[in-house]
Amino acid sequence: MADIPIPTVETSPKHQRFSSERFIPKLLLAPSLLLIVIFVYGFIGTTMWVSISNWRSASRDLSISDPVLGVYDRLFNTTRFQIDLRNTFVFTILFLLAAVVVGLALALLLDQRVFGRSVFRNVFLFPYALSFIVTGVSWRWLFNPETGINLLVENLGINWLLNALGLPDFSPAWLTTAEVWGDLGAWLPFLDGIKAQLGIPLAMIPVVIAATWQLSGFAMAMYLAGLGTISHDIREAAQVDGASGWRIYRDIIIPLLRPITISILIILGHVSLKIFDLIFAMSGSGPGFATDVPGIFVYEQTFRATRYNLGAAASIVMLLLVSIVIVPYLARQLKEL
């Protein structure tokens, strides 16, 4: 090809560069993408396989169980797993409610630009920087029924006051009670097959408090970031129109914060659906599985009982729950990219 007219000196490297500019980014991304394909998608696929296999002892058996979804059938008929799902929903709802209310309240108070604003903000967000294990360990002691919060209530004279009003002492058993408040199953006859009592396990309330302590600062910071973007002009315009402070918040600012609330619900919601560390350190499964959650179930079935297929099936249920929340969120973000 030597006699073909030589391309001009300029176009050759330019053309070369052009193709390398298309090729190099993909080449450089490939290792990361390969890792994610293996460690995320490949491993999830493998876990799905295990969840429909006969592997329920230390020796690996990857033959498919008969019927195919037999393990899932067994899982959903296990009382403990039914309790775990109930606990997850109760925890998620109560925790999201608490975190959003507390976070919004703190953000609105801090929005008033009072003295010492940054000190307050830093203290409220501080627990977010800690490990769930640290949180669990310290709150476990605070909720010890013999001491901790119950003792503080006693020392502050609150029980004396309650007694004077003819009320009993305030001394809940916190994490040590197996009591479940209410039973949805009694009202809804089609829930017959469910063996778990569909109510609120009271031992979950201390866990909700600890989680709110740790993560309400996140909600607060998100709201503060949102409040920062609501321009001064909007506030002033409303003020000039004669709206009072509270009405400006109720009618204008809080509705504008709606997208932030949705983001908070998605982020904290997916955290609470897969909660594990906090409960593991704070109360474990609890009395009568009152604080048991799928994360603990998976860990114990897989690593203690070596029932790999059952543990894998429960983990896939966790993944599906999280995906219901996260996939629409990611899909929406993708459209905006």
């Binding site: 450089l28 994610i36 491993f43 203290v123 501080f126 360990v137 605070l142 897989t302």
Partner: protein, 285 residues
């Protein structure tokens, strides 16, 4: 501040009263938030004999370093492990995330946004759903139970977050800078080294702090990937301290303080960057 002053004296007085009320509410809330911290710190300073249930809220009569001493003796190997884990894992996942973020923001190709979204999904999965194959895989490559194995795990599962933060950061850097460098003959890699990397120091600080905190605070991977209790990260060791029949609360609380201290110090000193990482990790840029 060219706003018209329409404040009357009564309005101003009402404003001042409202301010005082707000500060009062915030102060009460702050005390409530600090209760666990107070209890952890003072209990650690109590001698074992003083940790009676009825004395929980009292300051220790005499400062006893016994709790901290014992907790330190039992946790210091694990503390070292956590540092040897979190520092390299943070640097590696940060650097790879910087490259990914640069490519996915400045060198988009057909399908790159979809790939980015598929990558992001890895940040949200419950890790329980990958543990069985993960351990088999680590065993296969002879890294099960080892620190390098745990570092690898944190690097890989850290990539979605680090990539996200860097991608958002590089998106905001104007394309003209890149075009100018291209005209000068710089290629994909040259632009990254000579232009983007020097510009991305603030993003490295954010990613470094946030990712270090995440890895330090991890529990599940440390628990299942490392089998020898002496080699497990400090969060796992702290949880082990609370096992057994009689819990030594002064040692446990001192241990909690020790395990929390590195991330707490980072938060106090560099909180600004921490918040930025947190917000960047939860929202698009």
């Amino acid at each position: 501040m060219a706003t018209q002053r329409i404040d009357t004296t009564t309005d101003a007085r009402r404003g001042r009263l409202a301010n005082i009320a707000i500060i009062a509410i915030l102060t009460v809330a702050m005390i409530v938030y600090l209760i666990p911290v107070y209890v952890m710190v003072i209990t650690g300073f109590k001698a074992a004999a003083d940790v009676s249930l009825s004395q929980m809220w009292r300051l220790p009569d005499t400062l006893d370093s016994g709790g901290y001493q014992q907790a330190w003796d039992r946790l210091s190997p694990n503390l070292a492990t956590s540092f040897m884990l979190a520092i390299p894992a943070t640097i590696l996942s940060g650097f790879i995330g910087a490259v990914n973020g640069y490519l996915l923001s400045k060198w988009k190709f057909r399908g790159s946004d979809v790939l980015f979204t598929l990558l992001l999904f890895g940040m949200f999965i419950p890790y329980q759903s990958i543990l069985i194959p993960l351990i088999q895989f680590l065993d296969y490559i002879n890294l099960y139970g080892t620190l390098p194995g745990l570092i690898l795990v944190h690097v890989v599962y850290g990539l979605p977050l680090t990539t996200l933060i860097f991608r958002n950061y590089f998106t905001n850097i104007p394309g003209e800078i890149l075009e100018a460098a291209r005209v000068d003959g710089a290629g994909v890699i040259g632009i990254f080294w000579r232009i983007m990397l020097p510009l991305s120091l603030p993003a490295f600080v954010v990613v470094g702090i946030f990712q270090f905190t995440n890895i330090w605070n991890d529990f599940l991977f440390g628990l299942v990937v490392i089998t020898d209790p002496n080699d497990q990260p400090v969060t796992v060791a702290l949880n082990n301290l609370s096992g057994g029949f009689a819990v030594e609360w002064n040692v446990l609380m001192a241990g909690a303080v020790i395990a929390a201290l590195p991330t707490a110090i980072i938060y106090v000193l560099l909180g600004r960057f921490f918040v930025r990482g947190m917000l960047a990790g939860s929202m698009k840029g």
